[in-house]
Symmetry: C2
Subunit: 137 residues, 2 copies
DNA sequence: ATTGTATATGCGGATAGGCGAATAAGGCAA
DNA sequence: TTGCCTTATTCGCCTATCCGCATATACAAT
């Protein structure tokens, strides 16, 4: 009940909706999210913090990076919510474009980790160029 | 997208969630809603107005009373939302108790109109005692 | 320790939301 | 008209969000 209210507050912002849409694709690091939603770094960080305190996402640190993922573990409401979000996010131009940009970034070597997150380093194949995570090789 | 943000803002309050839960049962007049959520009359009115401007509910006046109902007409997102709400509202003590109180009130002759709202007077069988809509006969 | 990168937090101002108290407005009935 | 009932709106106050800017923290590498 209070949980629900919190979830909805968390979703009451376009930027956070875009972030949730991205996280439905899998775990992502802050820098990749920021690059796609094009907000200032503090703004994105605060939105992520808001989502975290709403109980919608979880985070973990790996070295310099912090990775965010949906908090779906053993919670029926959250699973229903994800199902609903996947449904209503369909056909929303901005959101679908964000996913497209994300896929492009991943293909070019973003620092994100594929869906069922693996424990290792988040850096892709050619790990030497670690300065700008999204630079093409 | 903006619509979605508005829907979620509309749902970001416990009182409004309770109202939405009641309206899932069918069209209701303000006085019945107020009696159940136990807020002040201005507070309930403002929440209803907020829901209306979020695009979540519609209203119509019938004499002294104003009736509110869910705005589901030809909108796929709203239909998905209602489905989701029905799902997550299940098992929430406060909400289920509200519905119980609503059904009791209807049985005692509330001013509400059954689900697919009929056009006639909202007053139940014994229309003479119209002072306090929820008084038992 | 120092430097550099990634992320978080503090502060200030602007805007929005929430509630109580009082008042206004819409509508029926005598 | 007057009076009454139901609902909406205004006002004032307080709290919560949102953002930009600056600064702090966490970590890695040298």
């Amino acid at each position: 009940m209070r949980d629900l209210e919190g979830y909805f507050k968390g979703l009451s912002d376009v930027t956070r909706l875009r972030i949730m849409n991205l996280l439905l694709q899998g775990e992502l690091c802050v820098c990749d999210i920021q690059r796609i939603v094009e907000g200032s770094q503090p703004t994105v960080s605060r939105h992520l913090n808001y989502l975290k305190h709403s109980g919608l996402v979880l985070d973990r640190r790996d070295g310099l990076r912090v990775f965010y993922r949906l908090a779906k573990e053993n919670n029926a409401d959250l699973r229903a919510l994800h199902h609903f979000l996947r449904r209503v996010f369909k056909g929303k131009g901005v959101l679908e474009n964000d996913v497209k940009e994300l896929k492009d970034a991943m293909a070019r070597g973003a620092c994100a980790v594929p869906t069922p997150f693996r424990a290792g380093k988040p850096v892709p194949s050619d790990a030497t160029a670690s300065r700008a995570p999204l630079q093409a090789s």
